[in-house]
């Protein structure tokens, strides 16, 4: 699956956004030494300076996202925590990839939970509506 162009926050110059084309799946991009420059710098910041890294994801574990979802990954003591500001969720992992993967699973399981029944508060009903927009229907 080819990735759409992605934009990254440049924390050395916060007013600037880098636009990069991710040539591989982001898992490989994060692990590979053949990074696009923006990705490599972002990953470096997350490790070295403790600054958050913004990573757009275009798919969950088993579902596609019609528009990329921005995930913020930050160091959390010995590991990393991944979050999206609009969702009451987080993913924790020993590295960035594990944290993002954990968040992906969280988003999917929350969506499944919210579809189970309608015994929801207004707040959760809104989250369900939001997820409904974010997640592509199964083909």
């Amino acid at each position: 699956m080819s990735q759409p162009p992605a934009r990254f926050i440049d924390y050395l110059d916060p007013d600037r956004m880098r636009t990069v084309q991710i040539r591989e799946d982001y898992h490989l991009a994060l692990r590979s030494v053949n990074f696009t420059r923006g990705f490599a710098l972002g990953y470096g910041y997350a490790n070295v300076t403790g600054m958050p890294l913004a990573v757009p994801i275009s798919a969950l574990k088993s579902r596609l996202l019609p528009s990329p979802l921005l995930v913020i990954v930050e160091p959390d003591d010995d590991g990393f925590i991944a979050r999206n500001p609009d969702l009451p969720l987080y993913g924790y992992g020993d590295d960035c990839i594990e944290a993002i993967d954990a968040l992906k699973i969280e988003i999917e399981t929350l969506y499944t939970d919210l579809l189970e029944d309608d015994n929801l508060t207004e707040e959760w009903a809104m989250v369900r509506k939001l997820l409904h927009k974010m997640i592509a229907p199964r083909s």
Partner: protein
Amino acid sequence: MRNADFHTLDVKLCCERKLAIYFRSGAEYNGWYMLEGRKIARITIPQGRKPIPRKTYKSMATQLKLTVDQFDRLLDCPLDGQTYRKLIEQQL
């Protein structure tokens, strides 16, 4: 913040005993706090961490709609299930 005092398993046990949260296990534990049959708060607990990383600890507190101080008290015992329910009802 008393994240260093607790293992993630302590959080899980506390949520089960005090808040009657039933957890589904997967890569992480997920469970809902239910109030009068409605889903109110959903907590995610990573498996096997001590000390609990600070941002993760704060995220768990936020998921339960608690401040870190209230979450500390929940785990430390003084905040019981009834008090938690009152705090939640005030927010609804």
